[in-house]
């Protein structure tokens, strides 16, 4: 009988033991190799964004993150990853962002990159994030990493209290639900309290250690691979770097790729997304504004995370295709006002490195399609990145941030007359 029972339950017991070891034993499964990091740098795989091990390994090598959203997948020859490869930049871009990621997702992402401390980063801001309702709950929940969430909860005793309170509150408002103990901990943080010893013990030793093992084991296997796409893009560039020549080439290639419409929108995007429906957009954005949005508060959370890590950040304000702006009837003042507001938030706290591509002299072919930078837009950014990427370490002089919790308030989110009204 004993043997019979062992034949029935033995395999199950062995399997459970193996699972426990895999998830909770203090073994570091080293699966992140330099090749993996290289692949991850342009992979844009959600697991890379939601994980920690690959990005922290990259921070130890010669990578500087570019944090953004959907524009990062516009991999034409002038995309920073392509340029960095062709012209042998000393440091390479590590892309972090997908269609649908906005400030709050990136705040969690930056918070999880412990090795970013004292290094540099690039952050691309999209005006389209700053809508009246802010980030959609579904999009945020999709990109929310349970691993980064546990990290945030455990770090809540040290970081800036106003920021922790804000993030916890915002996550609960967006309907985050990752288990009863995590939820209770978030609730305490949102009330400005310390998490309990039990919550710390559980989240640290059970939840987080298992998630870390999972990240180590599965975070970088069979990722999306864009290396061929980048190689192909880079191969179209001339051997010698000359801004004027490249500018001409960008114009020429972009014109060729947007031949079937007169709005400088890439053919494939136009055919797939617009052709049959374009009339719907005629004058559809006449009342769009980007100056009243909870996204300003979420964005402030990102700034806190950067400040906490003493990261030197180059902020990029993404351009919009001017022909598209005209077609949709969006008033140019929408962009200008957004610009003024976001720059005020940045500069008044000491984030002074801002590349503003929303107002340039010649905006032809600055975007790849409607609202995503590409071609000449990438090239203009590359021009700034070239110098920034020479050195990976932050210059301590440029990280003297003066954080102000006023930017976490509703008042700021809806303020338009800000310069002297504080």
């Amino acid at each position: 009988m004993k043997k019979k029972l062992w034949m029935i339950f033995g395999p199950v017991i062995v399997a459970i033991a193996a699972l426990l070891i895999l998830l909770w034993a203090p073994i570091n499964f080293k699966t992140v190799t330099p090749q993996k990091v290289q692949q991850a740098a342009t992979s844009l795989d959600v697991r890379v964004l939601k994980g920690e091990s690959v990005k922290n390994a990259a921070e130890k090598e010669n990578y500087i993150p570019i944090i953004g959203s959907s524009e990062l997948s516009r991999m034409d020859p002038f995309h920073p990853s392509s340029m960095a490869q062709k012209y042998h930049w000393k440091n390479k871009p590590f892309l972090q962002g997908n269609p649908g990621t906005a400030s709050l997702t990136q705040a969690m992402n930056v918070g999880g990159m412990t090795n970013l401390k004292g290094n540099k980063a690039v952050f691309i801001i999209s005006p389209q994030w700053f809508t009246k309702s802010g980030v959609p709950s579904d999009a945020f929940k999709y990109f929310l990493s349970p691993l980064q969430l546990t990290g945030f909860i455990l770090n809540s005793s040290t970081g800036d209290k106003a920021m922790n309170k804000y993030i916890a509150n915002r996550m609960l408002d967006l309907g985050v639900d990752k288990g009863p103990i995590e939820n209770d901990a978030l609730k305490r943080i949102s009330e400005g309290k310390q998490i309990t010893d039990f919550q710390r013990f559980y989240i640290k030793n059970f939840a987080r250690s298992s998630l870390q093992s999972q990240d180590n084991l599965f975070g970088s296997i069979s990722m999306n691979d864009h290396e061929n796409q980048i190689n192909k893009a880079a191969s179209q560039l001339p051997d010698k770097y000359d801004y004027k020549d490249l500018n001409k080439l960008a114009t020429k290639l972009a014109a060729k790729h947007s031949s079937d419409n007169d709005m400088q929108i890439g053919n494939s995007f136009y055919k797939k997304e617009l052709k049959k429906r374009i009339v719907r957009y005629k004058n559809a954005h006449r009342h769009v504004t980007y100056t009243h949005s909870p996204e300003y508060n979420d964005f402030q959370a990102v700034l806190y995370m950067f400040a906490q890590n003493k990261t030197e950040v180059m902020f990029v304000i993404q351009p919009v295709n001017p022909h598209w702006v005209k077609y949709t009837g969006m008033p140019m003042s929408s962009i200008t006002n957004f610009d003024t507001k976001i720059k005020y938030q940045l500069k008044s706290q000491g984030f002074n490195n801002i590349v503003d591509l929303s107002h340039v002299k010649n905006p032809n072919y600055i975007a790849e399609d409607t609202i995503h930078m590409g071609w000449r837009g990438w090239l203009m950014l590359d021009h700034h990145l070239k110098g920034f990427y020479k050195d990976k370490k932050a210059n301590p002089k440029n990280t003297q941030y003066k954080m102000d919790s006023y930017f976490l308030t509703d008042t700021w989110a809806n303020n338009t007359d800000f310069s002297n009204n504080k």
Partner: protein, 403 residues
Amino acid sequence: MANITPYSSPHYFIYLLLLLLPIIIGLWFGKRFRAYDFFATVVILITAFFGGNMTQGISLLCYVLYEMLLVFIFLSYRKKHNNFWVFTMFVLLAIVPLVFVKLDPLLKNQTISLFGFMGISYLTFKSVEIIMEIRDGVIKKITPYEFGRFLLFFPTITSGPIDRFKRFQKDVDKVPSRDEYVELLHSGVNKLMKGLLYKFIIGYFFGTLLLPKVQILAMSYRYQAPLGLSWWVLAYMYVYSMYLFFDFAGYSLFAVAISNFMGIKTPMNFDAPFKAKNIKDFWNRWHKTLSFWFRDFIYMRLMFTIIKHKWIKNRVTIANVGYVALFLIMGFWHGETWYYIVYGIFHAIAMITNDAWLRYKKKHRESIPSNKFTHAFAVFLTFNIVCFSFLIFSGFLNTLWFS
């Protein structure tokens, strides 16, 4: 706290097995603790139906009382009389709550479904079975306790398999011998593990990882060809079919496994359905307890009635009318949308065509080859026809064309 859908997450099993432990130990020593069984049922019902605002739980209780009332009134009536129309009325009364629940989505103000709770269909199948078998004289006596225990048997409460009262009664009234129980444990562990593989690994891969991607791709090509067709729609068809099978078969394996731990041999729901050599064979392998229920309580009875009253003479026509009725009812049961109805009609046509082909084959036996290759082709063809029917069933065409 919100309702916990049985078997929906791996964690559920840890709590469930802890709850089952006293039952397992009892059966090991040849005992059934009725009081504990009752307690365990209450715990499961509370977690599954009384979370949040308790509406589901209250509906469930009202529903069970209502059906119980019907069954016992009919039972006492049947002891003296046997009128066809009275019987029909009781069957109709028994399915009224389900009809309301199914009609609800059609109405703007959802108010008529007093009995909206997870698993109402499966409880209705069981109640109707009891009423029909009381009429047949197969069930002569049943106590309220037995009725409640059968209806609320928690391993199968939300989605089957649909057991039969007499069969269930045979298992639950006795305690298996030690050897029998060890066999049941063996079968239970195997099915549980296979279910975990099906639902949480393979089903997860197809349903959670692959399906959304394929759907986005299929939707992104919808303006490029007539009817929005692209290769991605075909991919969606196969991915959805795999998801549907592994998710549901996994769930059914859990229900059978947990039943086995409790000493009950709940019938299996799936028997390698994609190995079916024709559509009839498929329905003998796919969601078996449902198709057998429809066969025994709708199709056969309809056949019998038509023959008895000589409404139709031609045997082939009788069978075909039966198929159309059966699958239309199944379509309406799934929900009042065009794609469930079309799904039903599609299967009726497939069954009729299949019968016609089998008759033709029988007549021309010597001239039609039958070998390994024709068998492989039959399996391949059946698989694709079934997957196409699941594409209709999925409702994706509705999204593709009308959203």
